[in-house]
């Protein structure tokens, strides 16, 4: 049975069909929570709140997007609310904008780390630097970066999930990437010195 058939059955009150939908998507939703919050408790909260909300809102689901996209939307809205309460100091939108406009002086000379011995995907320190930088992105940038660049959702899908225009999504992805690259460049520069 495909996703839409299961959705139709679940909407008609077939609880087994809803559980089938849960089974097919729960690992993805839980791991999305891990990426947003980096702790199992908050990921478990996100998982539970997403499915409870989905079950309660199922009669209103019109099938304009896929069930998974709809779930991502519920999960991301929950994550945004929670991330906004985090106490980690975030980079300002102005700084992100200036970086993308090339107004920050450190973007004038790009540091070449193509041959840098510290560049390796197994370098745990490098991953930690990047992870910390992702966590300092403002929530509305962090969620987009995770959905698009980590989860691999298309710009169009992210736009539907967040009800934001495609140009807005593109701008935020671009600014986030430049900021994260700068943070890694700083790390490589320190290592060189």
């Amino acid at each position: 049975m495909n996703e839409m058939e299961l959705v139709q059955r679940a909407k008609a009150g077939d609880t087994k069909a809803f559980e089938e939908l849960m089974k097919a998507t729960q690992d993805k939703i839980y791991n999305l929570g891990i990426k947003f919050f980096e702790n199992k408790e908050d990921a478990a909260d996100l998982l539970q709140e997403t499915y409870i909300k989905a079950y309660e809102s199922l009669p209103n689901f019109e099938g304009k997007s896929s069930f998974s996209t709809w779930l991502y939307r519920i999960a991301t809205n929950f994550a945004l609310m929670k991330l906004r309460k985090e106490k980690i100091k975030k980079v300002s939108i102005e700084e992100l904008r200036n970086l993308a406009d090339g107004r920050e002086k450190n973007t004038i000379d790009f540091y070449d780390w193509s041959e840098n011995p510290y560049f390796h995907y197994k370098n745990e320190e490098l991953k930690e630097v990047l992870n910390n930088a992702i966590n300092t992105l403002p929530p509305k940038y962090k969620t987009i970066f995770i959905l698009h660049d980590i989860e691999g959702l298309s710009i169009q899908e992210v736009s539907k999930i967040l009800s934001l225009s495609i140009p807005t999504i593109k701008t935020r992805i671009h600014r986030s990437r430049l900021y994260l690259r700068e943070k890694l460049s700083e790390y490589f520069k320190k290592k060189r010195n």
């Binding site: 809803f18 729960q26 839980y30 790009f110 780390w113 991953k127 990437r177 890694l184």
Partner: protein, 77 residues
Amino acid sequence: MNCREIMKHISDYIDKEMEETLKEVFEQHIRICKRCRINLDSIEKTLLISKFIYKEEKIPKNVKKTLYYRIKMRYKR
């Protein structure tokens, strides 16, 4: 296309959201401009590293149990 324009379009290029003619001009510039090549390369490498940060986690059994219990409670309403 100058370096500033390359910077502006670099994410479109990475996301394959660029029109074919613009893409050709972009790639032509990248071939001759070391600075923009470094710019593109370091962003692509940042994205590569980001793919290795998170490990897939299994949902703990007790979390799954609570989830199904809470959902089942709603069936009864």
